[in-house]
């Protein structure tokens, strides 16, 4: 068991090291969300105006973009496994005493730690957009992001557990994961869309991750008009996170199983 915990620490540390050392990754992780915010914010902002009193489109989208960054980062923890497999480093991990679950959980915790770093960078934008920050809010946010990131990474790791090439992983990302992200309520509230879309959005676990992060930012009053409701019941932050954790937990167990059984 100590081997597994040490493994998580070591593998996560390497993920973080790689993230910090590769300037391009560090910069692109900040630039991409910024581009989304500027273009969509400017493009839709005027047309849409306020979604509910006190919440304009940028303020609505900003938490969504943070959630998107977190979700993308978590899923990309999978590509890191595929990358290691392709470049051989995975073998070094597989023959070390840290064990298979240590490797996967390490990747997951690594992605979560990276997500926290990214979020902290993006928080700089909050005052510019007129979103008030408080110490409590930031703490709540970072805890939620850590939990959501670790959970959602189960999805990326399950896809990656047997995948041999990065191209394969990219393909799955494009045809399954990108649509899931777009349907998770990042850019528009999922309560006021065609029925089929609402259905997909509401069985999409990523929706609840986005909703939790948005509620933390906007407070439950403003959020209540915008957040996900199921059969008339508006989800609370806690319930949102619970959905994500259960979903992520199942996928993570499946990922570890699949990864351990491979030859």
């Amino acid at each position: 068991m100590t081997d597994v915990f040490r493994g998580i620490r070591v593998v996560a540390y390497r993920e973080l090291l790689r993230f910090v050392q590769e300037r391009s990754r560090l910069i692109s992780s900040f630039i991409m969300p910024l581009i989304f915010l500027v273009i969509f914010g400017a493009g839709f902002g005027q047309t849409i105006g306020s979604l509910v009193p006190g919440v304009n489109y940028l303020q609505f989208m900003y938490p969504g973009i943070i959630a998107m960054t977190v979700v993308m980062g978590a899923i990309m923890s999978g590509i890191s496994i595929v990358w290691d497999r392709e470049f051989g480093f995975l073998k070094e991990l597989l023959v070390s005493p840290i064990g298979r679950s240590g490797i996967l959980l390490g990747k997951s915790v690594g992605a979560a730690t990276t997500a926290i770093l990214q979020t902290c960078i993006m928080l700089i934008l909050a005052p510019i957009l007129g979103i008030p920050l408080s110490f409590i809010l930031i703490i709540e946010l970072l805890i939620a992001i850590f939990i959501i990131s670790v959970s959602i990474s189960g999805l990326g790791l399950l896809v990656a557990s047997r995948m041999k090439s990065q191209q394969g992983f990219q393909l799955v990302t494009q045809i399954i994961i990108m649509p899931l992200i777009f349907l998770a309520g990042v850019f528009f509230p999922v309560n006021n869309v065609p029925a089929w879309m609402e259905f997909i959005s509401k069985i999409n676990p990523l929706t609840y991750g986005v909703d939790a992060i948005r509620q933390i930012f906007l407070g439950s009053e403003a959020a209540s008009a915008l957040s996900v409701s199921i059969f008339g019941h508006t989800m609370s932050i806690f319930e949102d996170i619970l959905v994500v954790v259960v979903f992520g937990g199942i996928l993570m167990v499946a990922a570890i199983w699949s990864f351990s059984k491979q030859e």
């Binding site: 051989g88 073998k91 023959v95 005493p97 840290i98």
Partner: protein, 323 residues
């Protein structure tokens, strides 16, 4: 007591029997080599011994630990250098070694010292802060050797340790291997399809189609196929054949314009022959059989280098596409 014990180990991939009931033992401190063509089952065997593959049947222990039931203990007892690089190219040499030290739970104080020592040993101290992606093939392999030894393993597994390196680099790597073995009292298990590399082993196992077909010291294997081959050219080859038969009881034959025959310890026989031979000689040579000849004799075919170069070509092509 053998440090590696293998008993009727088999591995099946679908219908393909990659390793077929191999059994052998490796003594502590020995350099033990698996020699065979590509696809003979060498890497599959190594992967089972280092816990990367689960055997289909049979049993194996490394350092007294079962490779299926006591994986963690086996992993702590062994060091590995694989055919392909398994370094993190985006980290520096030192960072790669530190990562390994953490993963194997080597106390910080101890590991910093061994890292320094090992980098010195493989002559990479001056490049310790450079990213591995800037290293040449030979440097990477040396770094991997250092890493494989960092946690003081009992057994070092080398899977084609010098594949793809030029002869000079290969010699260099082997100097390091011999050095390390002396220093750390290591047992070394290696696979190779290079004959000259196999000469470094104390004992060799020749494997083909997943089966062991011979196991002995390199010299004994070579003797087993009927000694050295002597080729001589005389003014009158026919007279020479006759004289060989009458005086030494050696049956020889004429191959093109040379007389050839096999004899044990040809190097000792030659002076006797040259001193007293009546027919006048033009040239004479002794050819010590190589392990290639042994393989040829045992299987009817040579360990073909084309297979290798073809694979290397493919590798290079795919590398080029990536850049």
């Amino acid at each position: 007591m053998s440090i590696i014990e293998v008993d009727a180990l088999s591995k099946k991939f679908g219908n393909l029997l990659a390793v077929d009931r191999v059994s052998f033992g490796v003594k502590g401190g020995e350099i033990f080599g698996f020699l065979g063509p590509n696809g003979a089952g060498k890497t599959t065997t190594i992967n089972m011994l280092c816990t990367l593959l689960t055997p289909t049947s049979g049993k194996a222990t490394v350092n007294g630990y079962d490779v299926v039931k006591q994986r963690a203990e086996v992993r702590k007892s062994i060091g590995l250098v694989f055919q392909e690089s398994t370094l993190d190219e985006y980290l520096s040499a030192e960072q790669n070694l530190r990562f390994h030290a953490y993963a194997y739970k080597i106390p910080k104080k101890e590991s910093e010292e061994s890292i320094k020592e090992l980098l010195e040993l493989v002559e990479l101290s001056d490049r310790r802060k450079s990213k591995v992606s800037t290293f040449s093939g030979g440097m990477k392999r040396r770094l991997e050797l250092a890493r494989g030894l960092l946690h003081s393993p009992k057994v070092l597994f080398l899977d084609e340790p010098t594949q793809g390196l030029d002869p000079q680099n290969r010699r260099h790597i082997w100097d390091h291997i011999h050095n390390m073995r002396r220093k750390h009292n290591l047992t070394i298990f290696l696979t190779t399809h290079y004959m000259d590399e196999a000469e470094n082993c104390d004992r060799i196992t020749i494997i083909d189609h997943g089966r062991i077909i011979a196991m002995d010291t390199p010299d004994k294997l070579k003797d087993s196929i009927g000694g050295d081959q002597v080729r001589l050219k005389a003014e009158d080859n026919k007279a020479a054949v006759l004289e060989l038969k009458e005086r030494y009881g050696i049956s020889s034959m004429i191959d093109k314009d040379e007389v050839t025959f096999n004899i044990a310890q040809g190097d000792k026989f030659l002076p006797k022959l040259v001193g007293h031979f009546d027919s006048s000689l033009i040239s004479i040579s002794v050819h010590r059989p190589t392990l290639d000849d042994v393989f040829l004799k045992l299987t009817g075919r040579a360990i073909r280098e084309e297979e290798v170069s073809f694979k290397d070509q493919l590798k290079q092509m795919s590398m080029r596409r990536r850049h």
